[in-house]
């Protein structure tokens, strides 16, 4: 091969590379919805406002009744979507030994964080759990085989397994929502069935202290974004890189 041909081939290759990169980028943009409003559902919980209502269980009660969540006296069988835990347990990696007793003992509502980078969905062998485009970490109970990999993967303890038949331990059966069956994992789905009807999650609606806020983080003018700009907020175990989308104001 002479010098002239070599330069021809190399420059042709170069042009081809640049052109294909541009085409691929264009496709990638189109796939993102390009300008179309993709939502990113998220939640903010004001722990101070919440703590003012001592021993309040309104958010949990609303969730439990609407979603047919069974109650078991034995802790090992417990099924929970939203529950309360002391600050020092909820934010176990905050590593601050000098926090006041008041904050350490504050009861914090916890639920699935609907992480941006959810480890639970990565390990599911049947794609029974996956991250929706709007950020909800969804569950398909039809498809769950009960392997419990997701429970092991979730660093927040947000997932529960039905060790027993839940039907026997549901106080008031809500006809509008299915129960689960023995051998299935369940967790909070940000009330996807209510969002689909234009409602907000049941816990947020039930909170009389207005300590819970729900909305679209991709909307720069949303209430959530304003709260996050004007207040200091923390997330659970951010160092793990799962990027939780439930923010807490302290």
């Amino acid at each position: 091969m002479n010098r002239r041909n070599f330069i021809k081939i190399v420059s042709f290759g170069g042009v081809l590379t640049v052109a294909s990169k541009m085409t691929l980028d264009a496709f990638a943009d189109a796939h993102k919805g390009n300008g179309k409003a993709v939502k990113r559902w998220a939640m903010i919980i004001d722990t101070k406002k919440c703590a003012e209502q001592e021993n309040c269980t309104k958010c949990m009660d609303a969730c439990n009744t609407i979603h047919n969540i069974p109650h078991f006296d034995n802790k090992k069988d417990e099924v929970k979507w939203i529950w309360k835990e002391k600050f020092e347990h909820a934010f176990i990696t905050s590593e601050n030994p000098y926090l006041s007793e008041k904050i350490n003992k504050r009861q914090i509502p916890l639920l699935c964080n609907h992480c941006d980078n959810p480890p639970c969905t990565e390990v599911c062998p049947t794609q029974a759990t996956w991250k929706r485009e709007d950020g909800i970490v969804m569950m398909d109970w039809h498809r769950c085989i009960g392997c419990r990999y997701c429970i092991a993967a979730c660093p927040f303890g947000s997932r529960s397994f039905n060790w027993r038949d839940p039907r026997e331990n549901i106080e008031n059966l809500n006809e509008a929502f299915p129960t689960r069956t023995k051998g299935v994992v369940e967790k909070c789905t940000f009330c996807d069935e209510r969002i689909a009807r234009g409602q907000i999650p049941a816990c947020v609606e039930a909170c009389e202290a207005k300590a819970m806020h729900f909305g679209d983080l991709n909307d720069a003018n949303s209430e959530l974004r304003k709260i996050l700009v004007n207040n200091f907020s923390i997330r659970r175990k951010p160092e793990l890189g799962t990027s939780p989308e439930v923010y807490y104001l302290v």
Partner: protein, 133 residues
């Protein structure tokens, strides 16, 4: 062959008796048929009865995947929203099917039992009958 006449005669009788259900069915006597109670006051279904009899399970599977996995909640027919009582029909066993067919034991079960199929829908989905209890 000894006693060929008796044996062949016996065989013919055996074959006729053994296949008699088939002949009776062909003769227009289907024997037992499950007595399914259709809703009395409701006239609208998402598809004709004949089609639903044979294909409701496929429709339900399709609805399940669309609602849970793709977040498509309402039923479209010929690319248009399907209306029941003027409202778009939700793709939901509980909110659409069971609203009219509220009698699972007289509707779903009778046919399923007859055909010996055991769909596991009801292990999770709640029927109106269960709530009344």
């Amino acid at each position: 062959m000894y006693d060929a006449g008796k044996i062949i005669f016996g065989l013919i009788i055996f074959v006729i008796l053994f296949s008699s259900p088939i002949w009776l069915n062909l003769a227009g006597n289907p024997g037992y048929k499950p007595d399914i109670k259709y809703p009395v006051n409701e006239k609208e279904c998402i598809a004709p009865r004949e089609y639903m009899n044979h294909n409701h399970m496929e429709i339900l599977n399709d609805w399940r995947d669309k609602v849970v996995r793709a977040d498509i909640r309402f039923y479209n027919q010929n690319a248009k929203p399907f209306l029941i009582d003027g409202k778009p029909a939700e793709m939901s066993l509980t909110h659409t099917c069971l609203k009219c067919h509220s009698n699972k034991s007289e509707f779903c079960d009778r046919c399923h039992n007859f055909l010996a199929v055991k769909p596991y829908c009801w292990e999770c989905h709640v029927t109106p009958e269960e709530v009344q209890k």
